[in-house]
Amino acid sequence: MVANTMSNVTSDVRSRKIAAVGPYLKSFSIVIVFVVISAFFAVANEYFMTWLNWVNLLRQSSINGILAIGVTFVILTKGIDLSVGSVMALAGMIAASLVTSTNQHLVLWAILAGAGTGAALGLVNGVIVTSFNVPPFVATLGMLSMARGMTLIFSDGRPVPNLSESFRWIGGGSVAGVPMPVLILFLVFAVGWIVLSYTTFGRYVYAVGGNEKAAKTSGISTRTVVASTYVISGLLAGLAGLVLTSRTTAALPQAGIGYELDAIAAVVIGGTSLAGGRGSLVGTLFGALIIGTINNGMDLMGVSSYYQQLLKGAIIIVAVMLDQFRK
């Protein structure tokens, strides 16, 4: 009996070791890309490798990182979420309106309102996709425009400034030298990683993306799973909107335009397949860091922002080409 238990334990440990090595190897190549790009900028500019610059770089990457983690859930189910940039603008706007000098609510209410707005719009996306069979690209493209429209209507096209100091702390404060946005990013990453790796919901996300029919035959409520990923994506877009608004100390109606593309780029660079069922949050995190590093490095080198766009696009394509080549 004891021997039996022992052998079970060892085989369990062995199989878990193998399980741990698989994704590790996969995310390894993205780490190399990250290191190579960092090394290049370190040689090109002496300031790049300083502690201060890395704190700055991480802070610059945090909003894209939070968005990209949400979008990863959606892409794993073979979907896409184009609405995150607009959703974050609306969420930030609504939250800001609660904490101006003329409308002094508790910061907690603002946070709940911002995150709730994101989650609600995500739910709308999810329901349109799963219950009305509208392709995710179309549903979220529509939401991209609708959320932007709602932001403009709500704000009458004007920024909302004069936010309370405690609200500004969300994006501007720091704990033990680590900026709040970075802390929030790592917290979101940790929770997301646990959900994807250790919960049944996480498994279902991969299963639905890998083969929706098989998942359904296996007794999984595929609609609920898919709709939930849009809620997660919306919720995190709302959270990113709070961080952005707090950092810029005002809610701008044109905030977040084009952010969805950087988020999708981070997911794709991170090796998550647009065909669904394959990918990881570790990849997405490094994908966001790579984009942040490129932006930061080129800023330091004084590359004009016109050329930055051109180079960033080329680097995204090359990174994914290398990944394909490796396969």
Binding site: S11, S15, T200, G210, K216, T217, S218
Partner: protein, 512 residues
Amino acid sequence: MLSLPGAEPEARDHAAIGLHDQPLLVAEGIAKSFNGVPALRDGRLTVRRGTVHALCGGNGAGKSTFLNIVMGLLHRDEGSIRIEGVPVDFRSAADALRHGVAIITQELSPVPEMTVAENIYLGREPKIGGLVVDFPKMRRAAKQLLDDLEFDVPVGACMRDLSLAQVQLVEIAKALSYRADIVIMDEPTSAIGEHEVHILFNALKRIKARGSGIVYVSHKLTEIFEIADEYTVFRDGRFIESGPISSIDRNHLVTQIVGHEIKTVERGQPNEGAPILLEVRSLSRGSHFKNISVNVAAGEILGIYGLLGSGRTEFLETVYGIHAPSEGEVFLDGKRVDPGNPKKCIQQGMAMVPEDRKDVGLVLCGSIAHNIALSSLALRAVSGFVRRKAEAAATDRMMRLNRIKAASPHVAVETLSGGNQQKVVFARCLLTNPRLLICDEPTRGIDEGSKQEIYAFLREFAAKGNGVLVVSSEAPEILQISDRIAVFRQGRLDHVVDGRETSQQMLTDLAS
């Protein structure tokens, strides 16, 4: 240039007669390793003009690797291939095609939005002035080709509107339209019904008479004995033996394929008075099937036999809750089953092995462990978290129980052979502790050895007081495993016959 069917057969046929005694294709000593693991050690094949040559072997025998090498999709490490005495080394399938070697694979690749004619001549459309596609000419050519083969498929129809069997026939017609000298067919009948198989075999006989050589790969031994002239057996990557099919019997072939003799599974004794496990009361679903009432007793295997389109698959899927019925009810253990909800069906004690394991049965990019645990994760979870230790122990147990051969439970299912993939589907079903197992074509595309393992397993499962509902389009299979057989015809349950007292002829007569 477009080679139109019937346009220039004479020239080739004359050439064929001149070289009649020289074999068309000779492959010798073909070997291939992947990452140091040999997949093929010694592949040999000699195909003569005007013959159908059956290439037999279990999953993992090296047939696919061998055929991929012949077609130029893989490069051999060793060995030689000669076509009419001339050594060849194809670089691609297009290269092979130019030299008169065509293949029809199991994997269908139609363009669903295009018509039949457009699919057949994809990439080699007849053109007017080298620019504009000559649609009337293309349509005439396609019609001529299909008429010659006696395939009943409308040339103007969209591929997406065709049945699976018709799509398969179009793919076959397409390969034959190249007027290849050597036609390789890999499981051409896995998706088509008996009627279409008959049409296909007639077409094969005509192609044979034209002087071509056909390499025929199938796990359905009955077909091999019906159509093949010669046979070659591979096992564990090696050539085993070869000869005229008339010199051997079925048992000999099975023994050569498996490497040892197989005991066929004995049917249990009928158990009178066993309680009813599954009761289906006048179930209907739209135009698919009407008013079906049938029972499965505890310990019983009920076979469902019917032609393609008889509503048998739709019936199984409705019992399992994938579709909601338009009328009727299903009871399991006396309790009414919630219609249209597979999740509830699983909780109540059903499990289903679907017809198409790649399309419906498995998450191919997922690992073996994740696939096995998929249906029972919720049962094992603590507040949403997977109990990983319990899961690992359960997958380990299932892999041993079902003899799934793999390097580790964490490899992707897509890397497994068909037989092992099917065992993963079975393992997933069993882990939910079902009382009723629903199987749709449980042995499609898998080898004879694995088939017998699955039969034995089903028998054992039923003997524990469980029930099995199984659909198969192979009459010998359904006769071997079923206690009773329900015969479906055009969406209706016509007869329920005793599995012991029915002959194959009776069954096919009842179904057509």
